[in-house]
Structure formats: structure tokens, C-alpha cells
């Protein structure tokens, strides 16, 4: 079975141009990575609405804030490691905190690529595994991790139209398609990709495909899994998670992020307060990543246990812990 691989950044760049044509308030900012992020094309199309501030991420974020308070809708983009990792102060104090009138935060969209360890070759210094933790802890901030290019394109449109500070993390490498073109997305709503009764697998980003693969293989063994694409980590779909916990009795979470304070933690917070059931979190076990060439990225993910096989094991594990 061949899986179609598509590049998130390419779709992001194209979508920005489409949005830019319709919405003159949209401006795009880069920090010397605009070629890589594919935002440079927006700059060619709309030179007066594109600002490359150089290798100066704190400045990038704060200039975006200044544009936003003046009515613009800035998209500021670079690699994940340089935004939450480097600029938490500016993101907090210049974007999330300032609240004009009844609004919450400024209307800045921080869209990054190179999230998680699947960055590969650049090595551990460039593999942001803390961004969910950082960003979801900031009040007013919404956090999105799309699973494929369909999600990237649609979410880019949605956040350009929805007021508020957003953080959206893309992967570096081409990703398999998991959504159909007709898939609808709504901020705060998870998407149930498979129905199932024995266990819920909640995933985000590139791990959604792994979750689907795990569900498919478990099905062969007679285990029925519900798979949720939790692309919206904040605001999280608490209703869907509670319902799934109630209906399936256990939960596995998957993320390309430190398991501390990340997506799995967010899910655990909801489940433990609404309908406590056994949970197992798949993710980076509080370690740093390392280099891996493109063809070795599966090995790197495997080393950190982020594989469909490991998800399957975790599913069996939590099912075994269910109260009888």
C-alpha cells in the first residue's frame, strides 16, 4: 500500500498567499528561515507585507505584536526550537498577555516547522520537544499540531480568521496524508478517525498516522481502538476525551514531545478529573534527541519508543489495567 507523502511547509506557504490575496491585513514575518518555511513566496507576491527581521527571533515575535495591536494579522514563522524555545518571554509578555478591550492576547500566529525529534539530521539542539509544555502553560495561547498537509492548509485558513494568539507546529519532513480533502476542522474539537470500543488512542502531529497503523494491526488481533486526531491541544476537546474514556475504559496518548507536561499530560489532566481510567503516554521519555539522517529518522523515533508497534503494546498494557 503506497502512502502519499506531502510537505507541510509547501502547503503553508501556498495557503498564506491565498489568504494574503483575500485578506489585506495579513502580514508575514520571517527570521532568516523564510526560504525554508516557504514564506518567502508570500514576500515575493506581497513585498510590502513581508518582513524578514534577520536572525533575531525575540525581535520577530515582538515586531509581530506591534503589527497585531495596530490591526494586522501577522504570521511569524521560523523553526520551533527558536520560538517557544528561545522567546517564551516575548511570546508571553508581548503577545499573550496584552489584552485590548475584551480580547484575550494579540492576534499573532506563530507557525513553526521542525517540531519534535523527527527533525533528524540537525541533531538534539534543533529538536524542540518542550514546545507543547511551554505554549500550553501560557494563558490565552492556543496550540495546534496538525497531522498532515490537509490539516495545515485548513488550519492556516482558520487561524487567519479567528482572533487570538495561536501556536501551530509543523514537522520538517514530508508527512503521510491521514485526512481526506473534505475533512472539517474546528478549533477545540478533536477528530475521531476510527471508532472503537476497547481503547482510545489520542494522538497529534505525525503520531496520528502511527496511531492509525496501530489500530489497524490491533484490529487483526480483535482489539477495537478509537483513534482521535487531537490536532488542537489547547483548547483541548475535553468533552470528546471524557466521552471516549467512558466508552472505551482506557487511553493511550502519542506525541513527538517530552512526555512531561506535553500532550499526554494534558489528556491525563482531563481524564483524571472527569472519568479516571488507565492511561499510557507514548512520547520522548524526558531525554534529548540526536542526529539521524532522513532514512534513519524511523530509527531515531524507534529509539524513543515513538512507533506504531509501541503504541500497540501500550494499548494492550492499558487494557490489562482496566478495572474489572
Amino acid at each position: 500500500m503506497s502512502v502519499q507523502m506531502t510537505d507541510m511547509r509547501t502547503i503553508y506557504g501556498k495557503t498564506l498567499i491565498d489568504i494574503g490575496q483575500e485578506n489585506p491585513s495579513v502580514v508575514v514575518l520571517g527570521a532568516d528561515t523564510s526560504d525554508s518555511l516557504k514564506t518567502a513566496d508570500f514576500g515575493k507576491k506581497f513585498p510590502e507585507r513581508f518582513f524578514n527581521v534577520g536572525i533575531a527571533e525575540a525581535n520577530l515575535v515582538s515586531v509581530a505584536a506591534g503589527l497585531a495591536i495596530s490591526g494586522k494579522t501577522p504570521f511569524a514563522s521560523t523553526y520551533a526550537i527558536f520560538l517557544p524555545g528561545r522567546c517564551v518571554d516575548q511570546i508571553r509578555n508581548a503577545i499573550a498577555y496584552p489584552s485590548p478591550g475584551d480580547k484575550k492576547g494579540l492576534n499573532v500566529k506563530l507557525v513553526v516547522s521542525h517540531g519534535g525529534i523527527s527533525v533528524g539530521a540537525d541533531g538534539g539542539s534543533h529538536q524542540q520537544i518542550e514546545d507543547i509544555a511551554i505554549m500550553r502553560a501560557i494563558p490565552h495561547m492556543s496550540v495546534l499540531i496538525p497531522a498532515d498537509t490537509v490539516a495545515v492548509g485548513k488550519l492556516t485558513w482558520i487561524i487567519s480568521q479567528k482572533y487570538g494568539p495561536f501556536y501551530m507546529r509543523m514537522a520538517r519532513s514530508a508527512t503521510p496524508l491521514v485526512h481526506s480533502e473534505s475533512q472539517e476542522f474546528e478549533i477545540g474539537k478533536g477528530i475521531t478517525l476510527r471508532e472503537g470500543a476497547d481503547c482510545t488512542i489520542a494522538a497529534c502531529g505525525i503520531t496520528v498516522k502511527m496511531a492509525l497503523d496501530a489500530a489497524d494491526s490491533l484490529k487483526q488481533e480483535g482489539i477495537s481502538c478509537r483513534v482521535i486526531d487531537s490536532f488542537c491541544i489547547k483548547p483541548i476537546d475535553a468533552t470528546l476525551l471524557e466521552k471516549s474514556a467512558r466508552e472505551t475504559g482506557c487511553v493511550v496518548t502519542c506525541e513527538e514531545h517530552n512526555i512531561l507536561a506535553g500532550f499526554g499530560s494534558a489528556v491525563s489532566e482531563i481524564i483524571s478529573e472527569t472519568y479516571p481510567v488507565p492511561i499510557k503516554r507514548i512520547g520522548v521519555a524526558d531525554r534529548f534527541g540526536e542526529s539521524a539522517r532522513d532514512n534513519e529518522i524511523p530509527l531515531l523515533l524507534e529509539k524513543h519508543g515513538i512507533t506504531s508497534i509501541n503504541i500497540s503494546k501500550a494499548v494492550k498494557d492499558v487494557i490489562g489495567k482496566k478495572r474489572r
Binding site: 502580514v27 527581521v53 533575531a56 515582538s62 515586531v63 505584536a65 497585531a68 516575548q90 509578555n93
Partner: protein
């Protein structure tokens, strides 16, 4: 708002007192950095910024970004004076539920930027300036940076961005007060040069050692260097900045932390500490006791007045008193508005035109056009109608309004209605007409009585002592209530104008310190006097205060 020099000064005084009131009630806050930028804020709020306090979100407004957010009392106090909210709201500073947060916050309508975390404001300002340009709005962005704040690398990222994108609708002020939280800037992280030993005060005096402007020049900015406590220099810098195209401007403003309150001045301790409530009335009096020295150049070489103006400028006079005599109101003739126009380009120091002429209402416009900053006319040649006309012309032209009375004239009844609107009252202590006369002793009593009448009639301008003021009697003139002092031959007749002005200031400082000690005694006896003196830890001030207290028998 377009206020004149004197009105700005008065508003700055009001704002400073509000800072003291608010921080003392809050029990914390940053008076030091609020005071170093007080004149910058005053000049922006009351002359250049376009805003509508009743409609803070007016689309075409200018924006003031207080990047050094810890100086929020200095922002809020000006907003109160400007009419965004009642001054009493300052009483809620830093309190639970208040719009006036510890650092500037959008919770308070009219605040444009949530300051607090340093180093962000200039980037934010560049973004705002870019947005204004995209929208083809007339919006100007004014940003105030602390000097310690520029330790932050992000400031220099923003500086490069401002240059790259040619944001000439952005003017920044560097509040160069040489002090940050831990200590002096040149000790914590030198912006000019690394200091060895303790020669900080020497360095402050020696402008040739100030290098920070070069840093900004190297980053491509238009750099204007000024004394950040002189309204006229700030005014001129903003004018130049707004005319500069293609690059952003930074006004490197040499300031004094805690300026206006002696025990806070240049003292790192007052970076982030609030004054105790018991001292507030004394500090208020101190703020209201600021005074100015104005040499009268007709006492100098009448054949080379341009040179006399330059001597006053170099001597650091506060403003220059220009005695215009027409040969009719007084027997002598000096010069008219044409001379003032000729002298005007030499300096931005305010020109105080004292019109000893008949029918001033007919000529006042000429003196406005010549570039006078304050125009004073004589009560003897005015009535309610003509003075009303003069007042209206001057206010509309952003020129200070002064009224003068001769030694044998009392303030006429018709003038009472104007008292609250006057910027200056000149009490002549010699018969006008020529320089070099002796002070008429009865003027002391006359000034004291007048000061009472004025304060009962809501006067908030300056009483100017003019005629025969010398080193020997200036302290007494201060005690009478005068706060501006014209010096004729006593200043301009001396070889070293700068030195003599310094001596005049020392005498005034002595008189002011005495007044404050008397106030402390009145409020809290010897105990409060001792505590007040205790606050003064820097320089010679403390020794002099002890001497004064001893002389007064308060020890």
C-alpha cells in the same frame, strides 16, 4: 495638546507630585525612573502627542510606548493630568482590582503597550510603525527606553530592524540616567566606558566621555543628544526628529534619576522604592519649589547681544530675559521684536520677552512671530479687555502669558480673573528703565503679600523677581515666594556667567532646603527634621541640611 513652555513645566510638576502620592500610598513602585523621564513625558503629552483622552482608541492617534515599563507611575500620572482619568485614581496604583497595574497594561485605556519585561518595546514600536505606514496613517510612534534596558540584546535587534525598514515615523528616547537596579550603569554594564574607581559623577559631567550615541549612530539611527530635563531641548529634538526622513531617530537624553527630589537624585536606592507617607508634604513642597535663573542681557554688551545670548547658553541659564523698552512706557529704548527675531536662531533656550512698552496689545503678535516663548506685558498699560486679547493670542500661539507690575503698582482688580491662567507674574523690584539699580527693599514684603493673594486665587505659575537680584538677596526673594529670578548686571556683568549662575543656584538651593526643613519641623518637629536629613545620603547636601537645622535650632 499644544501647551507652552510654562504650562508643560507646571504639568510636569503636577505629574511628579502624583507619582509621589501614588507610590507612597502603594508602598512600592519606581519614582526614580519616573522622574528622570518626567520632562520627556511632559513634552510628549502636552505638546506633541495627538490623542483624545475621551476616545483613547481614536484610530489616527499617536502612540507612546513606555518600554521601560517599571516607570509606570510616570506614565499614569501624565495620563491623569492629560485627562484620561481622575488624578485620584492614582491612589489605586498597584492595588488589587486597579486598572493601574504595577507595570503599564492595556487594562487601562490609553496605555499602548504592556511593559515590564525589558527590551521588548522597541521591537513592538517598529511593528506599530510598520503597521501605520502600511495603513498610510499619520500615526507617530514615540518610545521611551531605559539606559539599563539597552543591555538587552533585543533592543539592538530592533535597532537594526528600524534602520532596515526606514521607520521614520518612530522616535525613541533613551532615558540616560546612568543608574539601573543594582548600581550605576557603567558599573553593571557600561554603555559609555568601563569605570575604574568611583569617578562616576565626574563622568556624568564630562559629555565627551558619553559614547552611547555612537552606538546608535553605528546602527544607522539619527541621533540627537540633549539634556533630558530641559523642555526646550526635548521640544527641539522632537521637531527635528519628525522632520527627519528615511531613518528612525533616537534622542539620547541625559537625565538624572529621581530628578526634582534631592534625596532621590542620582541615588540607585530610589530606583524601586516608594517614599514614606510622612515625607509626602515635604516632597510636594520641594517639587513646587523648583526655580529658574534668567539673565537679562541688556545688562551686558548692547552692541553684541548675540554674544550675550551665547554666554547665557554656555552658562546654563534656564531662559533668557529680554527687556524690550520703547522710550515711552519707560524713558529708555533697548530693542524691539526685530532684534529678538535676529537672536532666535542662536539657541533653543526660551526667550522671556518683557515688554516695557505702551499699548502692548498692538505689538504682541510681532513678539510671538519673532519666536518669544514667554511674553510679559505691564499691568499699567492694560485693562481687562486688552489683556484678555493678549492672553488669547499668546495661548493660541503656545506662548507663555506673563503680567508685570511696577514697584509702585499693586495687582489691579481687573487682573484677578486672569490669575489662574497666568504663567508668570513679574514683580519689579526696581523702577524699570535701566539696569544696574539697587533692589527696592519694600519689594520683599510686597512679594510676600502678593504670593498670598495669588495662591488664594489659584495661581499655579511662577513669580519672577526682576530688578536688583543678587547673590546677597536671592535667598530672601525665594523665601518671599519668587521662583524665577532675573539677574542683570549681577549675572551678565560678570566674567564667568556659568560660575555665577552656579552660585545663584547654590543660594537658591540653600533657601529651598531651609524651607523644607521648616516644613518638616512644622509637620513633625525635630524628629521629622532628623529623619528628613537622614534621607539625604549623597553629596554635600546632608552637611548643609545639618547646618541649616542647627541654625534654626531644630537639632
Amino acid at each position: 495638546m499644544g501647551l507652552n513652555y510654562y504650562q508643560i513645566k507646571k504639568n510636569v510638576r503636577k505629574a511628579r507630585k502624583l507619582v509621589i502620592r501614588a507610590t507612597s500610598l502603594a508602598g512600592s513602585g519606581h519614582p526614580g525612573g519616573s522622574f528622570s523621564m518626567a520632562e520627556i513625558m511632559g513634552c510628549l503629552f502636552f505638546k506633541y502627542l495627538r490623542y483624545d483622552p475621551k476616545n483613547p482608541n481614536w484610530e489616527d492617534r499617536d502612540k507612546l510606548i513606555l518600554s521601560k515599563g517599571h516607570a509606570s507611575p510616570g506614565l499614569f500620572s501624565n495620563m491623569a493630568v492629560a485627562g484620561y482619568f481622575e488624578p485620584t485614581e492614582l491612589d489605586t496604583l498597584r492595588a488589587f482590582g486597579s486598572r493601574l497595574q504595577g507595570h503599564p497594561d492595556l487594562k487601562c485605556p490609553g496605555v499602548e503597550f504592556c511593559g515590564g519585561s525589558l527590551g521588548i518595546g522597541l521591537s513592538f514600536s517598529v511593528g506599530s510603525a510598520l503597521a501605520a505606514r502600511l495603513d498610510k496613517k499619520p500615526t507617530r510612534i514615540f518610545t521611551v527606553l531605559g539606559d539599563g534596558e539597552t543591555d538587552e540584546g533585543q533592543v539592538w535587534e530592533a535597532a537594526m530592524t528600524g534602520t532596515k525598514y526606514k521607520v521614520d515615523n518612530l522616535t525613541a528616547f533613551l532615558d540616560r540616567n546612568f543608574i539601573q537596579q543594582d548600581s550605576y550603569t557603567e558599573k553593571v554594564m557600561p554603555l559609555d566606558e568601563v569605570l575604574t574607581g568611583d569617578d562616576i559623577s565626574e563622568m556624568w559631567r564630562d559629555a565627551s566621555r558619553w559614547k552611547v550615541g555612537d552606538k546608535w549612530r553605528a546602527f544607522g539611527w539619527n541621533v540627537i543628544e540633549i539634556d533630558g530635563h530641559r523642555i526646550e531641548q526635548i521640544d527641539s529634538a522632537i521637531k527635528k526628529a519628525t522632520q527627519t526622513k528615511g531613518v528612525p531617530t533616537i534622542v539620547v537624553s541625559r537625565t538624572i534619576k529621581g530628578k526634582g527630589v534631592e534625596h532621590m537624585e542620582d541615588n540607585p536606592k530610589w530606583h524601586g522604592q516608594a517614599p514614606k507617607k510622612e515625607f509626602v508634604p515635604i516632597i510636594d513642597l520641594e517639587i513646587d519649589s523648583q526655580s529658574m535663573i534668567a539673565p537679562s542681557i541688556i545688562a551686558g554688551d548692547m552692541s553684541n547681544l548675540a554674544n550675550e545670548v551665547k554666554r547665557c547658553v554656555n552658562g546654563r541659564a534656564d531662559y533668557i530675559h529680554l527687556d524690550v523698552m520703547d522710550g515711552m512706557f519707560v524713558p529708555n529704548k533697548t530693542f524691539d521684536h526685530t532684534k529678538i527675531k535676529e537672536l532666535r536662531p542662536i539657541t533653543v533656550i526660551p526667550f522671556d520677552a518683557h515688554l516695557m512698552i505702551n499699548e502692548p496689545v498692538k505689538h504682541v503678535r510681532d513678539y510671538v512671530d519673532a519666536g518669544s516663548d514667554i511674553i510679559t506685558v505691564h499691568a499699567e498699560v492694560c485693562d481687562a479687555s486688552s489683556f484678555g486679547e493678549i492672553h488669547d493670542i499668546l495661548k493660541a500661539s503656545q506662548v507663555g502669558v506673563g503680567l508685570a507690575i511696577n514697584p509702585d503698582t499693586e495687582l489691579p482688580q481687573w487682573s484677578y480673573q486672569f490669575i489662574p491662567k497666568l504663567d508668570q507674574i513679574i514683580v519689579m523690584s526696581v523702577v524699570p528703565g535701566k539696569s544696574g539699580q539697587k533692589y527696592i527693599e519694600s519689594s520683599h514684603e510686597k512679594t510676600q503679600n502678593l504670593a498670598k493673594i495669588l495662591s488664594e486665587n489659584n495661581f499655579d505659575g511662577y513669580i519672577e523677581a526682576d530688578g536688583g537680584v543678587t547673590l546677597d538677596n536671592i535667598a530672601a526673594c525665594f523665601a518671599d515666594g519668587a521662583r524665577a529670578f532675573v539677574g542683570g548686571s549681577a549675572i551678565i556683568g560678570q566674567a564667568d556667567v556659568r560660575q555665577i549662575i552656579r552660585e545663584f543656584r547654590h543660594k537658591v538651593a540653600y533657601a529651598r532646603r531651609k524651607t523644607l526643613i521648616q516644613k518638616a519641623h512644622e509637620l513633625g518637629g525635630k524628629e521629622l527634621v532628623a529623619k528628613w536629613i537622614e534621607l539625604h545620603t549623597i553629596g554635600e547636601k546632608r552637611n548643609q541640611l545639618n547646618v541649616i537645622a542647627k541654625e534654626l535650632g531644630y537639632t
